[in-house]
């Protein structure tokens, strides 16, 4: 059991990296990876929001939306799965907003660091993507906890590495047109290749 969870964690951080293998959260990845400090800030915020929303959406899906999930209030046979997109996105937006208010109230320092990134996160596809993958792969509650956290860590690792590489690239002199975005994509491709090589570890 625990072995499974460990391998799920390793898998979601490395081989199944939500950014490099499933391409989720690219928009903010490209926009915010110019500077290491902001990359770390956004990364932490993503880890935090993912580890809260994925299990929360698990609970909502399994107690409200799944086929005959409503039998506990006497409505057997009701299937609300088609509502999952709108519910998940509403939950994510609400959680992000709530976290923002809480952080603002209790920790000014943390708010200064994370606050600006939180609104960005509501429309980060990695967050919604993790919830949808959680449903599609039939994770249990514990697995969804681990998966949410692991995906966040994987995403953060990718963006921080990318920011570090881009700082070095600042001194490079690429041809016009490749500069900036094009080069970032190609470097991401090379990084994705490197992360794929971790697949041997997860299998063992």
């Amino acid at each position: 059991m625990t072995e499974n969870l460990v391998s799920l964690f390793v898998n979601s951080v490395f081989t199944g990296n939500i950014l490099l293998a499933y391409f989720l959260g690219m928009c903010s990845f490209i926009a915010v990876s110019k500077n290491i400090n902001t990359a770390v800030g956004l990364g932490l915020a993503v880890v935090f929001v993912l580890s809260v929303t994925t299990p929360l959406n698990w609970l909502i899906y399994h107690f409200l939306l799944a086929p005959s999930a409503l039998s506990w209030i006497g409505l057997p046979g009701v299937d609300l799965r088609f509502l999952k997109f709108i519910t998940f996105i509403a939950v994510i937006a609400a959680v992000v907003q709530a976290i923002e208010i809480l952080i603002d109230r209790f920790s000014a320092a943390l708010y200064a660091g994370l606050g600006v990134f939180l609104p960005l996160i509501a429309v980060n596809c990695a967050i919604l993507g993790a919830s949808l993958f959680m449903v599609e792969r039939n994770y249990t509650f514990t697995e969804s906890l681990i998966y949410g956290f692991g995906s966040g860590v994987g995403w953060m690792m990718a963006i921080v590495t990318m920011a570090a590489i881009r700082i070095k690239l600042r001194y490079a002199n690429p041809p016009y047109g490749l500069e900036g975005y094009g080069l970032t994509m190609i470097v991401t491709g090379l990084m994705a290749m490197a992360f794929m090589l971790f697949s041997g570890i997860a299998a063992g």
Partner: protein
């Protein structure tokens, strides 16, 4: 007449000059994942065009009624409604493709193109122009998607739309499919190269950098 040419301009601008993926860097997330095959890419492009044009239209209709501070939630609701419609449609009529697209249909909701168009265009323009703008962006997005999928399926599997197109004698002469093209990193690299190509061709897209 003048009105007509403006509409045409709105339609064509995002296809090339302001291409959402290559120039504005929006909506890359889904662009990469579903480009292993042409078929899925095409379906995705059509779904995307449908969602972005319809949601822009509706949001533009409501633009005077939406209170400013909750507009993002309102926009998300409109967008998710259309995504649910398209998801149910695909499930009913194109079940295999909907299985392959898996979560990526749902992810149209958080696709930055849809939100971006709603925020920057639909909220300040009349409905018919917003609709045209949506169609244009859908086409711009779709053409990149189909282009990438074309390269990946041709080089990676030697097929187009699932039909083998590389002649047999080439294989006998020692040609092999580049399986790498089907893996994730290839998608990043192809998009990178496409961006390079387009930016070199349309010098002056500097403002967006």
């Amino acid at each position: 007449m003048k009105n007509k040419s403006k509409a045409l301009q709105i339609l064509l601008r995002p296809v090339w000059q302001d291409n959402p993926i290559n120039i504005q860097m929006l909506g890359i997330c889904s662009a990469l994942a579903i480009t292993v095959q042409l078929k899925t890419a095409l379906v995705m492009a059509l779904s995307m065009t449908f969602v972005v044009s319809c949601s822009s239209f509706i949001i533009s209709l409501m633009r005077r009624q939406i209170p400013k501070n909750i507009r993002i939630i309102v926009e998300l609701c409109v967008i998710s409604t259309f995504v649910i419609v398209i998801d149910e449609f695909l499930r009913a009529y194109l079940y295999d493709i909907s299985k392959q697209l898996s979560v990526f249909v749902g992810l149209i909701i958080t696709n930055c193109i849809v939100m971006g168009r709603a925020e920057s265009f639909a909220l300040s323009n009349p409905p018919h122009l917003a609709f045209i703008d949506g169609v244009g962006n859908g086409i711009g997005y779709g053409s990149v998607l189909v282009g990438v999928a074309f390269l990946r399926e041709l080089l990676g599997a030697g097929k187009l739309f699932g039909i083998p197109v590389i002649p047999k004698f080439l294989y006998e002469a020692g040609y092999e499919n580049a399986g790498f093209m089907l893996l994730a990193p290839a998608a990043f690299i192809i998009i990178g190269l496409l961006v390079w190509l387009q930016r070199t061709l349309t010098k002056g897209g500097d403002a967006n950098k």
